[in-house]
Subunit: 154 residues, 2 copies
């Protein structure tokens, strides 16, 4: 999927499991070392448990990027973005994938297994991993992501 096979952490809930299996097979075939944070069963589980495990791996350097899958991708993206240092984007297209890497330096890609099909998700994930952050004015904006940037009378 990209020239350097950097490590990737992947996780999903029960709704995301089928798409997780597709994505992790493609990542493995592309040579990426994978940190599989589960779930690997169909029993109902709580998506934040898997989001936190994947984010911990990205934040401590075991993984360069994280991939998360749930029904819509939204719950996973919220749980992931709660972590300072994690910027999660729900991807529906290569366009979103390219723009969020270039502009937001997103480091977690989230997918909705009930909303996007595997080929669309695979193309978006490839675009995500192949796009570099542009820096510049976008870096200034990332520095303002912390809530303490709220103006006192905001």
């Amino acid at each position: 999927m990209s020239e350097t096979p950097f490590p990737i952490a992947i996780g999903a809930d029960h709704a995301g499991l089928p798409l997780k299996l597709v994505l992790q097979q493609a990542l493995a075939e592309a040579g990426h070392p994978l940190l599989d944070c589960g779930t690997n069963a169909t029993a109902s589980v709580d998506y934040p448990d898997f989001a936190h495990a994947v984010c911990a791996a990205v934040l401590d350097g075991r993984a360069s990027f994280g991939v998360l899958v749930c029904g819509t991708g939204i719950g996973m993206s919220i749980a992931a973005t709660r972590h300072a240092g994690i910027r999660a984007a729900v991807l529906h297209s290569t366009t979103e994938a390219r723009l969020t890497r270039a502009h937001n330096d997103a480091n977690v890609a989230a997918f909705g297994a009930r909303l996007v099909g595997p080929e669309v998700a695979l193309d978006a994930l490839r675009a995500f991993l192949d796009t570099a952050f542009e820096g510049g004015r976008h870096a200034r904006r990332l520095a303002k992501l912390a809530p303490n940037a709220i103006p006192a009378n905001g």
Copy 2:
């Protein structure tokens, strides 16, 4: 857009301004008191400034929901979700809008003005405002959104 005209805070960056104008006109026509957090000019601005202002209004009760618009919606959703108590969803469809209210109790709707057209965004916003949170197992998952839910060896 819904039976009770609860107050809504709205904000956008320069890329989101055209869609913000469409959404705020529709919300006003539906009778919602609006807290306009800007921007209202075409000059380049930093999206987190507007996300933080809208989230502050939701968190202190001046607004029941927040609406944010940037180029993709993703930067806004990341900046908003950094706030404990804010759950932001980027909306591309009525399906996402319905599911994220029902399952994630999302309280901020984010839109990408460069990716979705105004009619699609309006339908999604109406579905968002018209859908109630389901509670139950979904409430248990929301309680796990905080990063301190990371297991020590996660």
